[in-house]
């Protein structure tokens, strides 16, 4: 683990104005220290932002929910506002990582989570995301964990977050504070597709800091479910996951929100599939049609082809469970905690 200088930021302005070269903010540390130890991230300066006053969760007058950047995953998952108005986010959070990691990891840190691609995590491998232009060893390597949606010739690394999938299905705005002041970015636009520049992972400039994430007002009368499919029962990244929200009028779907995890290069909102669900009856045929639409552009490499049928299963089951407004007992412990 390389050496670096350490300092503590005592105000947001202070942090945002500290435009040191090769600086990294540390909050929970669960991604940063992991990757510094692997020699993947090499900051010369680490700025501890844990003292900043970014730990509040507040309901705004317009019904939205503003979440401070430093609210931990545990606190957010169990927050009364989230549990009652955004259960899909609570489920997604609790499906992620472990108790200990959720106690450390923060909301903004989770948004900034790096991919788990083994070639990204190994400095001896070629990786366009870590080292632009070096090539991609995942493309023809062990790519079982890799993306079938949103990939490019340069990169097929998966965005690993569960929380972000829940947020994608809700809709949100990020508040960023930089040397030139504050700005807001739509959550859906924050994470970048890899394209030719996979090393540019998000819309955050040097020195900018995420200070809050504001969830859209909850869908009225929505039922929801987050389903995470993985090899083992807990403490593993998703192979495919789905956050689903539906608003029903009798048996008819009036509104739908659908997002996928574990299969895409960024938290993946399925707008076309959502549109196709509206006005349809809440049955298996509709869900399968929506899944086919959501996955119509999916592309597989040698070892990740199974993710297409698996994601299809995740979508159909998540929609079914959401529409039923219940989670079968056999799924409760694994995907809902």
């Amino acid at each position: 683990m390389r050496t670096f200088a350490y300092s503590r930021a005592d105000s947001v302005d202070h942090a945002a104005h500290r435009t040191m070269p090769d600086a990294a903010f540390v909050a929970g540390g669960t991604t940063l220290l992991d990757l510094i130890k692997l020699d993947v991230l090499k900051p010369e300066n680490v700025v501890d932002i844990n003292a900043l006053p970014l730990k509040r969760v507040e309901r705004l007058d317009d019904g939205r929910l503003r979440i401070g950047a430093l609210v931990t995953n545990t606190d957010l998952a169990h927050h009364p506002e989230v549990k009652s108005h955004y259960p899909v986010l609570s489920e997604a959070l609790l499906a992620g990582a472990s108790t200990q990691l959720r106690n450390m990891a923060t909301t903004a840190g989770n948004v900034m989570q790096r991919t788990r691609c083994p070639y990204y995590r190994d400095p001896a491998a070629r990786c366009n995301r870590r080292e632009p232009g070096s090539g991609c060893d995942a493309m023809d390597g062990i790519n079982r964990m890799h993306a079938v949606l949103g990939g490019s010739d340069a990169c097929i690394a998966v965005h690993p977050s569960d929380m972000c999938v829940g947020i994608a299905a809700i809709g949100a705005t990020l508040t960023l504070q930089g040397p030139d002041g504050e700005r807001e970015v739509d959550f859906a636009d924050f994470h970048r597709l890899p394209g030719d520049t996979p090393h540019i992972e998000h819309d955050l400039a040097n020195g900018e800091l995420i200070t809050a994430i504001t969830l859209d007002a909850p869908l009225e009368n929505a039922r929801s479910h987050y389903l995470k499919l993985r090899d083992r029962a807990s403490y593993e990244f998703a192979l495919a996951s789905c956050a689903a929200q539906v608003v029903l009028d009798g048996d008819t779907i009036r509104e739908a929100r659908l997002a996928l995890g574990g299969v895409a290069t960024k938290p993946w909102r399925c707008s076309d599939a959502e549109a196709a669900l509206v006005g349809q009856s809440a049955d298996k045929a509709s869900f399968e049609r929506a899944a086919d639409i959501a996955l119509k552009d999916a592309q597989a490499r040698e070892h990740n082809g199974y993710k297409i049928p698996l994601a299809r299963q995740a979508i159909v089951r998540a929609l079914r469970n959401a529409a039923r407004g219940e989670t079968p007992a056999s799924e409760t412990q694994e995907s809902q905690a």
């Binding site: 683990m1 390597g141 499919l229 593993e236 199974y306 089951r317 007992a329």
Partner: protein, 744 residues
């Protein structure tokens, strides 16, 4: 031997009784010193630099940046290392090693993670930071052998690892019912929680070497190090008091130990190396992948007429390791025509080594899946098929079993599991979204025993002391040694101190092969008897507590001696005679019984899987097992071994696989997140019954050892249950989501 001190082993007082671990408090308070957390004055930290290729040549090392880092004391590598000798690598002479190649021996790279340098610095942080600044340049070569399962290569036949009786080929050819299937098992990692660790210190001006090592065999490591360094064994001490488990990969020495000792000698200071997890997984042992073909022939009644078991496993390019898959097969079922063969293929991996139930667990997966296939072919209940072919004597040796109760294991576990409620029709048992599958398999492991020495002291302060140079890797050896001493002396357990894991103690066995219990306890008993005899001589001697009595008239009772009329405590007897202690030596070894009986444990696992086919999710819900291990010396710790084996079997069946890059043989999932093992949430409901049939032909305590058997048979029971649920036969491990999707 004195009959008066012979405890009544049919009705033992302590042995066989639930006994909380005597080392438990140390483990539970954090005071147990595992190797990696030990400190000695002036100690330096070493951090190895691993090769980032799997096949090629190390062309150069640029050490300037690393040398300039603060705290760096020295960097060792091929051009800067001591000239050493290889170990003869002999099991018989106790100097076997896990990798005969010495560290930095040449500049060829044979596997990913092979050490190319060792950085030594004042602090751990400094050593790690500097190790990352070492720049190694390689000439990578094409043609790395990625693994057995990625090639059609046949490998080299190992004549000595095969066996044959009857005419299996002819019998198979003429069989009324046949199964002919091929099975593949991916390479696995031991993933023991504590990584390999060494702390080496030279004393007496470099004449004497003291090594703390997380090892399953202090004597093997001492002997091997003596050969490597050209030292007299007496000038070497290896210590291992607490071991964060091993599962076989800490049986024998690895190169990091040698590198650490050399670094300590060349820097003139003690050096500690704890392998990072990635290096532990690339170069610290693995269970090699296997490819097995099984041919079974039977008549229409289900009687086996032929078993042919051909196996190939991986070894590395720097060390020959043979993971004999067929070793249980000749003894498993009554059948006149049986053959096994074994091949090995050299691959560009770190050297494989024994992993819990080595060879046999892989072989039993193939054999017990094939038996299920045969039951399907015959339209016969799989339990019935196994009972029908139960071997009443050992068909391999023709000897009677010392004690065997497989039939009772099968019937008892079936009853407790509710096997009679199984509807044999595929996919016929449902619960909501889930299909329920019931499957079963038998399990087995050989019951070995080695020579052993031990020492027991009775002390004037009232304490007792027992010592043996074996180890407790978590199986509970400390506690059963204390139980044996308590049994023979009648002393309270709290008064008994047990010392293990040092080569300064009487020579003890490896903690492996499920042999330690049967090996160590008879030696401890002999030492306790010898100590009691010594005390009796003191007691009846001039001025003694029983002056003038006949020593043979005395017996041990409740931590004292009694003549039947009065009891005098050990401490009073010693005090009366102004002695600090008496000392008993004991040794024990297997004898003629080994040529009169066959020794092997058997059992059965019954498994319920639940598969939700619409989301490709399979979970093992329930395991019910009955295992016959003779007498369990300490039932809770013995049962814990079987339960842990079952959990590991869930991993073997559904999760575990080392992933080598198909282009260059680099191990890409050498971490605890990407190499997946069962978590709490994966642990099924487990019900383990240990039958209680003491095997006194094996040893006077009647115990046969229990470390491995629980793992064997679990994976085939899972695959058989999945067949029952889905009708798809899974012959490759692990059974992944991809395999489930392919079958739907």
């Amino acid at each position: 031997m004195n009959d008066m001190t012979q405890p009544d082993f049919d009705k033992p007082r302590v042995v066989g009784q639930r006994t909380p671990r005597i080392d438990g408090e140390f483990k539970l308070t954090g005071r147990a010193g595992y190797t990696g957390e030990l400190h000695v004055d002036g100690m330096l930290y070493g951090y190895p630099v691993p090769a980032t290729i799997a096949n090629g040549v190390l062309e150069s090392l640029d050490l300037d940046a690393a040398r300039a880092m603060p705290g760096v004391v020295d960097i060792f590598h091929h051009g800067h290392f001591e000239a050493l000798h290889r170990s003869p690598n002999s099991m018989a002479h106790g100097d076997m090693v896990n990798e005969v190649r010495l560290p930095f021996e040449d500049e060829r790279i044979y596997y990913h993670g092979q050490y190319v340098a060792l950085v030594v610095a004042e602090t751990f942080e400094q050593a790690r930071a500097a190790a990352q600044r070492v720049v190694a340049r390689y000439r990578e070569e094409r043609g790395a052998v990625v693994g057995l399962l990625q090639t059609d290569a046949e490998g080299t036949l190992q004549e000595s690892a095969g066996s044959s009786r009857g005419d299996p080929e002819a019998a198979f050819g003429g069989a009324e019912v046949k199964v002919d299937s091929t099975y593949h098992i991916a390479a696995e990692s031991h993933l023991q929680m504590e990584m390999h660790a060494t702390l080496a210190e030279w004393r007496d001006a470099g004449k004497r070497l003291v090594v703390h090592e997380s090892t399953q065999g202090v004597f093997f490591q001492r002997n091997a190090m003596a050969r490597v360094f050209g030292l007299a064994q007496e000038n070497l001490e290896v210590i291992s008091h607490y071991i964060g488990s091993g599962f076989g990969n800490k049986l024998f020495m690895w190169p990091h130990s040698v590198a650490t000792a050399v670094a300590a000698r060349m820097t003139g200071r003690p050096v500690k190396v704890v392998l990072p997890r990635q290096q532990d997984m690339t170069g610290g042992g693995n269970r090699p992948a296997s490819r097995q073909r099984i041919r079974l022939g039977a008549d229409r009644s289900g009687k086996l007429t032929s078993v042919i078991h051909d196996s190939t496993t991986e070894t590395s390019l720097v060390h020959q390791y043979v993971d004999t898959c067929g070793s249980a097969t000749p003894s498993f079922y009554a059948c006149d025509n049986v053959s096994t063969s074994q091949r090995v293929l050299e691959v560009n991996h770190g050297t494989p080594c024994p992993m819990r139930a080595p060879g046999e667990v892989s072989g039993i997966f193939a054999l017990e899946t094939a038996m299920d296939e045969l039951a399907v072919e015959l339209g016969m209940d799989p339990v019935e098929l196994r009972l029908k072919n139960n071997a009443e004597q050992d068909p391999a040796s023709g000897l009677p079993w010392s004690s065997k109760h497989l039939d009772e294991c099968l019937t008892s576990a079936a009853r407790r599991f509710g096997w009679e409620q199984r509807n044999p029709a595929i996919g016929s048992m449902r619960d909501g979204d889930e299909i329920i599958g019931y499957g079963m398999a038998s399990c087995t492991w050989s019951a070995g025993r080695q020579p052993c020495e031990a020492r027991v002291e009775l002390r004037a302060d009232g304490s007792l002391f027992a010592a043996c140079g074996t180890q407790d890797i978590g199986t509970g050896t400390y506690t059963i040694v204390a139980q044996a001493v308590a049994e023979l002396t009648g002393a309270e357990l709290s008064r008994i101190e047990v010392k293990l894991g040092e080569t300064s103690l009487p020579a003890g066995p490896l903690s492996g092969g499920s042999m330690a219990t049967a090996t160590v306890l008879p030696a401890v008993a002999a030492a306790a008897r010898d100590a009691l005899d010594a005390l009796k001589e003191v007691a009846v001697g001039s001025g003694g507590a029983f002056e003038g009595s006949d020593a043979d008239s005395l017996s041990a009772q409740a931590g004292g001696l009694t003549d039947g009329k009065r009891r005098v405590s050990f401490e009073e007897i010693l005090g009366t005679s102004k002695l600090s202690s008496v000392n008993g030596q004991g040794s024990a070894a297997p004898g003629s019984e080994r040529s009169e009986y066959a020794f092997r444990s058997f059992g059965a696992h019954f498994v319920e899987v639940r598969i939700d086919p619409e989301i490709s999710r399979v979970r093992v819900a329930r395991v019910v097992s009955s295992i016959d291990i003779g007498r369990a010396i300490n039932p809770p710790t013995a049962r814990n071994q079987v339960e842990g084996g079952i959990v590991m079997g869930v991993g073997m069946g559904l999760l575990e696989k080392l992933d080598y890059d198909p282009r260059d043989a680099r191990l890409i999932n050498a971490n605890v997140a990407d190499y997946i093992v069962p978590t709490h949430a994966d642990a099924p409901e487990i019900d383990v019954e240990l039958l209680d049939y003491p095997d006194f032909k094996h040893n006077e305590f009647g115990g046969r050892g229990v470390g491995e058997i629980g793992l064997t048979g679990v994976a085939p029971a899972i695959s058989n249950a999945l067949y029952h649920a889905t009708g798809k036969r899974h012959r490759d491990l692990p059974i992944t989501i991809e395999a489930l999707l392919a079958s739907s």
